[in-house]
């Protein structure tokens, strides 16, 4: 197959062929990804994608816009692909033999599973192979992969449950790679790892959708906030501005949670005058959905955690007769006192023994927002009106709120919150809409200054002495323009139990191992404390943490939520003042 030079415009004749035949081949998708990967400018990238999607039919359009962001399923969907790097290695090893460690070696050399798979499929043999040639499993039928076929296959993989399904998953992955060209293999591997590495984020794809169908980007963004599904939004945009504007929130289709920025009480009042203040609870965020008798609870990462929280389900279900979507925080309590955040997570994570756990850890929900009421979407109403609706339909468990323009009064609520064992204060702008997934100035969090960072765990090292059988230290990374870059190691602050738990949790996510060093698939987030940020040549990002110590694992946060390099730079500059 001819590979086009990087940066070749997408309007070249072979790509405009898309407009003629309806089915997008996976080879075309891979070629488009490769071209986008070669584009550095955001505008040029948006333009290129918009030209492709304007020609797609109703089957390929939703799949393409979803895939090109490197995610297989929309965030709200209960379907998760659940493939670790190990399963990918196994599948590749089945197709091109050579020992498993050769495949891993190739991946280590290239630093990217996509490029490694491409190279393996290109050479059709491993570079460290002895004189005896490697063999390749041929398929019984060779068939060209198309985009929709790949999607169906991935959906099948996601629907496989339980341990016995590993073999079936492996065979499904094998069948995909067996029919893939080297370039297809590169993007297939990255897609399976849900990291396409072509730099297309949600913002770019939203702008590209708006441009492709000549609709207002703000309408696209709004519809995306409500539906949380790029494919669906693309289809609405294709149907026209009217369809896009009529978008509704639906029960059991969770929306992203609105997020808060750091702020101060005087600053908030200076800018907004009268504000609403609520306790900042040190618990776990949840979204409660109810329609008729059906009720479900979703976590901050929009995972269905209904089964782990039967008590919350019961009390909230009993507090309203309406169909609602509520936003709140659930905290653990003992004798009326809040327990540390970690305790709540033990409940969220629970899959077995929920009944005993219910007795051990009592949880209490506090609801502070309402997004949907009896068929009506409320996110565009100002906070003050949403609050009124919330109070009128929920008889209990509404988080107390104080509305005031007096800094002294707000400060008093803040101190009261801390005295009661909560984390701090949330200050909200009364006229603000609910903006799902957006961290803006309409919600401000105020906490005593503790210097902690949320960072991704990307590596580990085996411990020593009595810790020799577990990981003893961890390599942590922040994010910079979608890439992870290492910033610190952390080896203190762990109990032996925590290290054992972390080892068990992480051992399925080992990408490679050389000597004592382990490279890990990034998925786990640590909150770490530190005394100071220093400039350092030891890490690629140019900074390092002084006295890093482990505070807790943030199971409620994903890689997208970790600290940015810009944020670290800002903290560094601030501490110099």
């Amino acid at each position: 197959m001819r590979t086009p030079p990087r940066g070749e415009p997408l309007s070249s004749p072979k790509v405009t062929i898309l407009h003629i035949h309806a089915i997008m081949k996976f080879a075309e998708f891979a070629r488009i990804c490769e071209e986008i990967e070669g584009i550095s400018g955001r505008l040029e990238m948006t333009d290129a994608i918009s030209r492709v999607i304007s020609g797609l039919d109703e089957i390929d359009l939703p799949i393409f816009v979803q895939f090109v962001t490197g995610k297989i399923f929309p965030d709200w969907s209960p379907l998760k692909i659940g493939i670790g790097p190990n399963l990918l290695y196994d599948a590749i090893t089945l197709i091109v033999d050579g020992t498993r460690s050769d495949v891993i070696g190739e991946i280590n050399r290239r630093g990217d599973a996509g490029l490694a798979v491409q190279a393996i499929l290109e050479q059709k043999k491993m570079s460290r192979r002895s004189s005896r040639g490697a063999t390749i499993q041929t398929p019984l039928f060779s068939q060209e992969l198309d985009l929709a076929g790949v999607y169906r296959n991935l959906e099948k993989i996601a629907r496989q449950g339980g341990r016995a399904s590993q073999q079936e998953k492996l065979s499904l992955i094998q069948s995909l790679f067996q029919n893939a060209s080297p370039l297809e293999g590169r993007y297939l591997a990255r897609l399976l790892m849900e990291d396409l590495r072509i730099g297309v984020g949600e913002g770019i794809i939203r702008d590209a959708i708006a441009r492709a169908f000549s609709v207002d980007p703000r309408d696209v963004e709004h519809a995306y906030q409500a539906r949380n599904d790029l494919g669906e939004v693309a289809m609405l945009a294709r149907a026209g501005e009217k369809a896009l504007r009529e978008v509704r929130i639906m029960p059991f289709h969770p929306v992203k949670m609105m997020l808060a920025q750091q702020g101060t009480i005087p600053g908030a009042i200076e800018e907004n005058g009268t504000v609403a203040a609520e306790y900042k609870y040190d618990g776990s965020r949840f979204q409660f959905h109810k329609a008729g008798e059906e009720r479900r609870i979703y976590s901050r990462k929009l995972e269905d955690v209904t089964d782990a929280l039967p008590d919350v389900l019961r009390v909230l279900g009993g507090a309203t007769t309406h169909d609602v979507i509520l936003d709140g925080e659930v905290i653990a309590v003992r004798d009326g006192k809040p327990l540390p955040f970690q305790t709540v997570l033990r409940r969220f994570r629970r899959k077995h023994g929920i009944e005993e756990m219910q007795k051990e850890v009592k949880v209490q929900p506090f609801v502070f927002d309402i997004l949907y009421l009896d068929g009506e979407t409320l996110i565009d109403l100002p906070l003050i009106e949403r609050r009124a609706r919330l109070l009128s339909v929920l008889s209990d468990h509404v988080a107390p709120q104080v509305v005031s323009g007096d800094p002294g009064e707000i400060e008093r609520v803040y101190q009261e919150s801390l005295a009661a064992g909560h984390e701090g204060l949330m200050v909200k702008v009364l006229s603000s809409p609910y903006t799902p997934g957006i961290r803006g100035k309409n919600w401000l969090k105020i906490k005593p200054s503790v210097d902690t960072l949320d960072l991704a765990v990307v590596g580990a090292e085996w411990g020593e002495g009595k810790r020799a059988h577990v990981f003893g230290s961890f390599l942590l990374a922040c994010q910079d323009q979608g890439e992870l870059t290492a910033v610190s190691k952390v080896a203190t602050g762990f109990s032996d139990e925590q290290l054992a738990e972390l080892h068990e949790l992480l051992s399925d996510h080992v990408i490679s191992e050389s000597g004592k060093e382990i490279q890990l698939e990034p998925f786990l987030v640590f909150e770490v404390g530190y005394s100071e940020i220093q400039e350092s040549p030891n890490y690629e990002c140019g900074y390092a943490l002084r006295f890093p110590r482990f505070i807790r694992a943030r199971d409620d946060k994903g890689i997208a939520d970790i600290e940015t390099l810009d944020g670290i730079r800002e903290r560094y500059l601030r501490q110099k003042k």
Binding site: L94, V96, D97, Q123, K124, K125, R132, G133, A134, T135, I136, Q137, T138, P139, L140, F141, E168, S171, L172, Q174, S175, Q178, N179
Partner: protein, 247 residues
């Protein structure tokens, strides 16, 4: 509609032949018997099976298609005695297959055939080398090869008129040759292909029960294994894609 009575051993043998490769299949029924054709998930091997109405002690059916969860059936039939008689019954447009034996009555929910991959067309390939040997000899060769390697070569040496299997491990290798006294050469022309033992081990267990298996081979081509079951009233064909040497 399907109403049939069959010997437990024959039914088990048929289910085993299919379950060696797939966990579900589309089963076609008509007045002459049953048939299915299915490809494994990884697209490497195919099974075709026909069971004539003569294989049953009683058989009555209209033309139809049903979706079978083979893995589930295998579990259920695992507990049957060898010489039981089993009766199968599916009403017209029914979604549950009634199976009874030894006083047990099962009602087995069928799969929607549309959710199962369509019957593949057999690939159009010419496999000129043909030999017939005992299923037992074939299975023993496969087992022997599996001890040293995860791949096996099957071939015909035309000059010597030998059918051979060979397996090469990292340190050990094994070779077994069959001459005219053990193998019937239907067409003894030169052939050699390499196959994954992952597949052959499961297929071999089924083939080991056949008196004779007809093996068709080419050079770096799939292999076809054909044999009778159910005392000649059933017929199974396996097709397996080769591994080829990379260069």
């Amino acid at each position: 509609m399907l109403k049939a009575t069959i010997d437990a051993d024959i039914l088990k043998e048929s289910i085993d032949a299919i379950s060696a490769l797939v966990t579900e299949c589309r089963l076609h029924t008509d007045e002459n018997g049953l048939s299915t054709r299915a490809v494994d998930t990884a697209n490497v091997a195919m099974v075709s099976l026909t069971l004539k109405k003569e294989a049953f002690s009683a058989f009555e059916s209209t033309k139809g298609e049903i979706g079978l969860d083979i893995a589930k059936l295998k579990n259920i039939f695992g507990m049957m005695g060898k010489n039981d008689l089993i009766s199968l019954e599916l009403p017209e447009d029914g979604h549950k297959l009634k199976v009874s034996f030894e006083g047990y009555r099962y009602s087995i929910t069928l799969l929607d055939p549309n959710t199962i991959r369509k019957d593949p067309n057999p690939p159009n390939i010419d496999l000129p080398g043909k030999v017939v040997l005992s299923g037992n000899d074939l299975y023993n060769s496969i087992k022997a090869a599996a001890v040293v390697s995860d791949k096996i070569a099957l071939g015909i040496d035309a000059a010597q008129q030998l059918f051979f299997m060979a397996a090469e491990g990292d340190t050990d290798h094994i070779r077994r040759e069959f001459g005219k006294s053990e193998v019937n050469f239907l067409n003894g022309i030169e052939a050699r292909s390499l196959f994954s033992l992952d597949y052959l081990k499961d297929m071999g267990r089924v083939m080991g029960r056949a008196d004779e298996v007809e093996v068709s081979l080419g050079i770096d081509h799939p292999a076809k294994f054909a044999f009778y079951i159910a005392g000649g009233q059933g017929y199974v064909e396996y097709l397996l894609a080769p591994r080829i040497e990379a260069d």
